[in-house]
Amino acid sequence: MADKVIGIDLGTTNSCVAVVEDGTPVVIPNRGGYKTTPSMVAIAENGKRLVGHIAKRQAITNAENTVFAAKRLIGRKWDSPAVKAAMEAVPYRIVEGPHNDVRIMLRDQVFSIPEVSAYILQEMKMIAEDYLGEEVKKAVVTVPAYFNDGQRQATKDAGRIAGLDVIRIINEPTSAALAYGFGKNIERKVAVFDLGGGTFDISVLEIGNGVFEVISTAGDTFLGGEDFDKRIIDWLVFGFAKEHKIDLRKDKMALQRLKDVAEKAKCELSTVKETEINLPFIISTGKSEALHLQRALARDKLEELTIDLVERCIQICKKTLQEADIDKGEIEDVILVGGQTRMPKVQEVVADFFGLEPCKGVHPDEVVALGAAIQGAALIDEQSDMLLLDVTPHSLGIMIVGGYFHRLIEQNTTVPCSKSHVFTTVKDNQTSVKILVLQGEAERAEENELLGEFILTGLRRAPKGEVEVEVNFEISADGIVSVSAKDLETGLQQSITVTATSGLTEDEIRRMVEANKDYMLEVRSGEEFEKHKQNAERLVDEIEQLFPKVEEIISGSDFGQDAVRKARSVLDRAKSAISSHDMQAVVDSTEALTRTLNMFKGVVSKTKLG
């Protein structure tokens, strides 16, 4: 039996892990029994790493050291607008990395984004391992369809740091459609409406004969469930301010409690018409008296507070379909993805827009992870009847004279693919050409992502326009881009495999893999040591308390003196073992301490009797 491949939906706000067991994809719950785990990482005061629910529950009180929405930063360049926007929006410190990449500073320690994502992936890996009872090595990880090569590569690197072989990166909407179409023999065009915690995506796919093809995809990376929560928080805060003239947002603990309760209330209102929000002792008036926050929130009210957000989604749908030249009537089913789509109003508006009831067969929080697990299983299973035709999310090309971008591979081209084009020299006696490999949709080269560059030299000295260079682009099924340039006269060839710049060098990644392994070892042994240390300390305490009495009783005899001496040396050894953090020594001394203590107790109780 081949290794199990897990599917991980690495979300902006929540992550989810699934696996195919006996042909059925299942979502794996975490230790708390939840099927999703917050994509949050924090460093606690004592330097400990907190991941998931626990990190979320302290996010605001430890805001500077808690990373959320790292996905918005992964694979981004330091000078990109997305990073600038994030820097203003997040409380943690974003700093510049050594390769024009982005790093995060937490308690004087600098982390790369792939590292932070790795901690989440590792948590998901451990959840799966706990469930399966075996080590997991391979995973399929999903990313938004608009992720560029760098972002995908960075996600792959994160997997590596977490000790996972990411055998494939797939697009989230594709993954959702995969789970939707799994086991059904259908031929239809579907829309995937994905309103997650932080982002909104709309994609159109064609499914036929077990093959899934993305046709178009677009979205808004700053629109999601958290915006809905924010509306509830604001409503609560204003209400409270009106009544008590206190701004709850200024108190971190109060704000964290508001955030928790807003999310909870929002979820509840998807099933009930009204819910009670109750936060006792939320803040003190300064006069030693503490105030409670208590309000009822109705579904209608929530809809009123958020209707513009829902409308925005629909506007984006409209625009996307128009641009892709797809008629609404062609869409035969709508798949809802992301927790926020459970809101009845969202479903209603979507049904209204597409003129059909959204598909109820898939679970919005889990469907993406399930699809990833299905793809993982399909890849390693020869009998599988499933095939995913993924596309390049962005156009690929090179920079040409005048700083323009010449596309060789258009966006939404099915991979694997290759394309070549012949270019000529632009100057007389030009003996070399520099090939700048770019990704993006802008006409100007500099507005696109630079994936890599190389130089083809040794061209014949000739008038401009005469020497022909053929540039060939190739994308493999794994999405690896390789580019070659060939002098058509001499057959001279230069090529690169564009190891997309995730912002980390190979060396750095290797170091991070090691460091993470070390940390995990340390965490495990640290917990162990702490246990042994506390035990030893307790024994030392007790012995020391008994020491004077015992000494008094038995030091009269030679025999007794010898015993006291021995006991003292046992104590000394134990103390030095504790202070030197030598776990083995502490463990060894525990035994001696126990014997000594028992001897002491025996002596004391005997004397009392005597």
């Binding site: 005061e45 529950r57 004969n209 409670h292 000739a462 702490e530 300390e537 028992n598 005997k606």
Partner: protein, 782 residues
């Protein structure tokens, strides 16, 4: 082994729960206490709570204790225990020692005086510890209840043993004391003995202490084992409940599935019907077209046959031949005319109002004809060729049929069949059938047009394109072979899939497709037409040959080359059933009556000659009409017939030649256009082949030079040189031909030849910068 405790609260990994029964508002809490309380959710342990409150461990512990004491949170110890444990003032950790667990019942020490010190005892706990360690190193988990029970038992056994030994020792000591007592009478010694006894007791006591500890450990282990069992039972209960739930869900899902399935099968049924209707109409259409073509051809043939029949009739009428004898043609015994394929009959009627065709071999010929012409070509198969059909298509590779007018050399047709055994021997992970399919498909990439590549007919809609693309993707997408060692097949599969997806892209793009489809359609039509023409001409030739031989008269003999050609097996791969049967019409001379026969022959000969000339004229007129319409291929066919009937007429030959040239030019233009198209699409190898076709059909400068360029691009230097030379021969004054040839030579490292060519370029076009710079380079190398 349990996690370290937090003094006064509980174990570090214990998760407290909020008390659902308690109303926090009834208590008076500070906001900080409210905060800490809000973090308690039943999943977060004490240790984790200390980390996440942001208040620090000390203060968090104090608050938690307070909350527990007030019953707002539930812990394992219970609120009461905590209330006792929690002092009003914050306690420093470790300042208050945790009360030692209640010692196990120690064996009650004997109170009797002991006269002799007991011998020292080995510390038994080390034994236990060893056992523990050995278990641990065995890899067993310390919380394994079974192991714990075993250890507990062992400890108990050991304790019992030691206890027994201790009692023995005590008895020995007592006996000694008694003996001493008896011996010593002095009070002093008695006192000393008493003291000694006391000391001995103390020592025994200290020896016993480890036993007690061991017993304690054993009891603790037992307790843990019990815990573990209880835990396992709870787990079992939970799992059972989950299973029940899962089963419930499964049942729901399968109900839903049944519904969906029903709906789906209905939809499939409907789709199937629609497809059938569509296919049916497509077939009708194709059928009609084929019949029309057949009709035309059959008409032409029937004329031929009529001519022969005429002659036959004449011969039968001849008075000299009136007596019964063997017929001139050994005709099969003719009964009533056999029923014929309707379209052939119609054609025969339409074309032949004259004497009836008397013999069944005529109908045989007609039938053969009809069936052959009716049979759709491989490309007119159903919309989706089955694998068997596909295999047939490969068995008879699509070759531009060698027509009378233009002998096109089939390109790599034979190669398509040859599968390299060395290649098939590689990549053992793949089944042989898959390997063969991959290699064959790969060989076809350069030759097939996009429709052929996707294995669909020309008029396929977008849906069919996609459907076939998806179907083929499942065969040729690299993911189908994920993680397999593919060796040389990896590149082949990649190439095939890329070609497929490009083809699908192209054919689903309306604007680009329209132009391409028109082009391919012309090409297909031309090919079909040529094929029909060829068969018709061949059959006509055959008939004409038979006529010539069969007639006793001395008709003008066929020109030597025509005879030779007519007698030859058809040069194109005509399916075996399609050839007209070799006539058994060897004339058998009736005995005697030679002069009469000669006369008859002369008469017949004259009539035949007239007929032939008339037919020839008729075909010539038809050819001229077609030529005036620009239908050169069809015109060439008619002229060919005319020339066959009247080989002595030079006018027919001239027109035939002209029409042939025009037809070839037309085809050449089509091939050339496709070449330009393929070149712009980057499919250089296909482009090279198209130009090559064009150059063969019409050896002019342009296609030759383009072919040379393309072959240079794909590094087929021999071919490139061949066409380069041809181009230069065709137009020695064109500089670009010499330049291309020079580049080919240079690439082939024939620098001297390159130099010569470049010098020619310079002579023709002194301003050519490329040539100049190339020349400089080549001069150095030469």
């Amino acid at each position: 082994m349990a996690a370290a405790p937090i003094p006064g609260l509980g174990m570090r990994d214990e998760c407290p729960r909020p008390n659902p029964a308690a109303d926090p508002r009834a208590a008076t809490l500070s906001p900080q206490e409210g905060w800490v309380l809000s973090r308690v959710d039943g999943h977060t342990s004490f240790g984790e709570l200390c980390l996440i409150t942001g208040l620090g461990e000390e203060q968090t512990v104090v608050i938690l204790k307070g909350l527990a004491a007030r019953g707002l949170i539930l812990t394992r110890n219970g609120p009461a225990a905590l209330a006792r444990a929690a002092p009003p003032a914050p306690a420093r950790p470790h300042a208050q020692p945790v009360p030692a667990p209640a010692p196990a019942q120690p064996p009650s020490p004997p109170k009797r005086p002991v006269a002799q010190p007991a011998p020292p005892l080995r510390a038994p706990s080390s034994l236990l510890a060893r056992e523990w360690r050995s278990h641990a190193s065995d890899g067993a988990r310390p919380d394994d209840p079974e192991l714990a029970r075993r250890v507990a038992e062992a400890a108990e056994r050991e304790a019992r043993e030691l206890k027994r030994k201790a009692i023995e020792l005590q008895e020995t000591a007592a006996a000694a004391t008694r003996a001493r007592l008896a011996a010593a009478t002095e009070e002093e010694s008695l006192v000393r003995a008493a003291q000694e006894q006391q000391a001995a007791t103390a020592r025994i006591e200290s020896t016993l202490a480890p036993f007690r500890a061991a017993l304690e450990a054993a009891q603790a282990a037992e307790a843990r084992a019990r815990d573990a069992v209880a835990h396992a039972q709870a787990e079992l209960a939970r799992v059972t409940a989950e299973r029940a739930l899962a089963e419930q869900k499964l049942a729901d899902a399968s109900r839903e599935l049944t519904g969906v399935h029903g709906a789906a099968s209905q939809a499939v049924q409907r789709a199937h019907e629609a497809t059938q209707r569509r296919e049916h109409s497509a077939r009708l259409e194709a059928d009609a077209a084929a019949r029309a073509a057949a009709a035309t051809t059959a008409a032409r043939v029937t004329e031929e046959i009529a001519l022969r029949a005429d002659q036959h009739a004449l011969e039968l009428e001849s008075p000299d031949l009136g007596r019964p004898g063997p017929p001139i043609f050994a005709l099969p015994k003719a009964g009533p005319p056999e029923p014929r394929a309707p379209q052939s009959a119609r054609a025969a009627r339409a074309a032949q109002p004259g004497p009836k065709a008397p013999a069944s071999d005529l109908s045989q010929i007609l039938r053969n004809y009809a069936s052959e012409v009716d049979r759709p070509g491989p490309r007119d198969d159903g919309p989706e060729p089955t694998p068997a059909k596909a295999a047939r298509a490969e068995a008879a590779p699509e070759v531009e049929l060698a027509t009378e007018t233009s002998a096109v050399v089939p390109i790599s047709a034979a190669a398509a069949e040859e599968l390299d055994p060395a290649l098939l021997g590689q990549a053992p992970a793949l089944p042989l059938s898959a390997k063969k399919r991959i290699v064959r498909k790969h060989q076809r990439i350069a030759q097939d047009d996009l429709f052929e590549l996707l294995e669909i007919p020309l008029d396929s809609g977008k849906k069919e394109v996609k459907r076939s693309y998806y179907k083929l993707s499942k065969e040729f997408h690299p993911d189908r072979y994920f993680g397999k060692r593919l060796g040389p097949y990896k590149a082949l599969i990649d190439d095939i899939f890329k070609a497929l997806s490009q083809a699908a892209d192209f054919l689903t793009d309306d604007t680009r497709r329209a132009e391409y489809e028109a082009m391919i359609r012309t090409q297909h039509e031309m090919r079909d037409l040529e094929r029909t023409m060829q068969r018709a001409t061949e059959a006509a030739l055959e008939e004409s040959r038979r006529l010539a031989e069969g007639a006793a008269a001395e008709p003008a003999p066929l020109p030597e080359h025509e005879r030779e050609r007519a007698g030859r097996a058809p040069s194109g791969p005509v399916p075996p059933g399609g050839r007209a049967p070799t006539p058994r019409a060897v004339p058998i001379m009736p005995p005697g009556g030679a002069p009469a026969r000669r006369l008859v022959r002369q008469v017949i000969g004259q009539r035949l000659l007239d007929e032939r000339l008339q037919k020839g004229r008729h075909h010539f007129e038809e050819g001229s009409r077609l030529a005036s319409l620009g239908q050169w291929v069809a015109a060439a066919g008619s002229f060919k017939l005319a020339a066959t009937f009247a080989p002595e007429n030079p006018e027919y030959q001239g027109h035939l030649q002209q029409a042939q040239e025009e037809a070839a030019a037309l085809q050449a233009t089509t091939h050339f256009r496709r070449g330009v198209f393929e070149e712009s699409a980057g499919r250089f190898d296909t482009a090279a082949r198209c130009y090559e076709h064009a150059a063969t059909l019409q050896p002019t400068f342009q296609p030759c030079v383009k072919a040379a360029e393309m072959f240079l691009k794909i590094r087929e230097l021999n071919r490139a040189r061949e066409y380069g030379i041809k181009a230069v021969e065709l137009d020695p004054t064109n500089a670009s031909g010499h330049l291309t040839l020079a580049q080919v030579f240079r690439e082939a490292k024939q620098f001297k030849d390159a130099k010569r060519s470049l010098e020619r370029v310079m002579k023709l076009d002194p301003e050519n910068k490329t040539a100049r710079s190339l020349l400089k380079e080549v001069q150095k190398l030469a």
